[in-house]
């Protein structure tokens, strides 16, 4: 089991990450990737993600390890950006490799749902006028997250 997590304030190149990840995932039959992109519009020009150095990295590592173990994933990658992220740029990239496609889909899907509510970030939307609006997880995020708690009696 190969797990890599990374926190960065630099641009994430999803295609380059997928290329490197897939080449290293020898013997996998299925690779699922997720790219989360900052959506603009409604006057939003950027997201600002605050983090707590040390705690944030540890939270991502824990989520990745638990997800890989749960779904029998051979390789798992999670790259998360912090700082100010302009609309159109990548905020998170996740890739999961497995022998069969179902496990790879479930792992990427579950890891994203958990990152949304369990990774130690705090988010604000920045508008063209420089205003900042605090964003907290939506009901939808909590619902998505709950899907993964039914099978195993919860993971917190």
């Amino acid at each position: 089991m190969r797990i890599e997590t990374r926190l960065t304030t630099e641009t994430i190149d999803a295609a380059a990450e997928l290329d490197r990840f897939t080449k290293a995932a020898h013997g996998a039959g299925a690779v699922v990737s997720f790219t989360g992109i900052v959506r603009g519009g409604d006057d939003v020009t950027a997201l600002e993600l605050d983090h707590y150095p040390g705690m944030t990295e540890a939270s991502i590592e824990t989520l990745a390890s638990e997800t890989a173990a749960r779904f029998g994933i051979s390789s798992l990658l999670a790259v998360h950006r912090a700082g100010t992220i302009p609309a159109g740029e990548t905020v998170v990239f996740v890739a999961a490799a497995a022998e069969h496609r179902r496990a790879a889909f479930q792992a990427a899907d579950c890891l994203m749902d958990r990152l949304k509510t369990e990774a130690a970030f705090w988010k604000r939307e920045i508008s063209a006028e420089g205003g900042a609006r605090r964003i907290e997880p939506h009901d939808k995020d909590h619902e998505d997250h709950k899907r993964w708690m039914e099978d195993d009696g919860g993971h917190r």
Binding site: D50, M55, H80, V92, T117, E118, A120, W122, R134
Partner: protein, 79 residues
């Protein structure tokens, strides 16, 4: 001791404050000491505001020393 804030607490209180270790040297004690000293810190009493000690999430009973790094924060929002 240094107390850090993230999320909504940071919006109201800034990134950090330096305070004396309260007599009730627990996470809950620090919460109350901050809220009593500054009306703006009342939001720290909300049940949704969680805490960590030395970057480990804890409950209000966790005990502290002068060297503890305590943080208070609102709900995480990653991804």
């Amino acid at each position: 001791m240094k107390v850090l804030f993230f999320g909504r607490p940071a919006d109201v209180l800034g990134r950090s404050r330096e305070i004396a270790l309260p007599d009730d040297a627990t996470v809950g004690g620090v919460r109350r000491a901050l809220a009593e000293a500054d009306p703006a810190a009342a939001l720290l009493m909300e049940s949704s505001i969680r805490a960590s000690v030395d970057r480990q999430i804890t409950d209000d009973r966790a005990t502290l020393t002068e060297d503890s790094e305590v943080a208070f924060f609102s709900a995480f929002s990653g991804g």
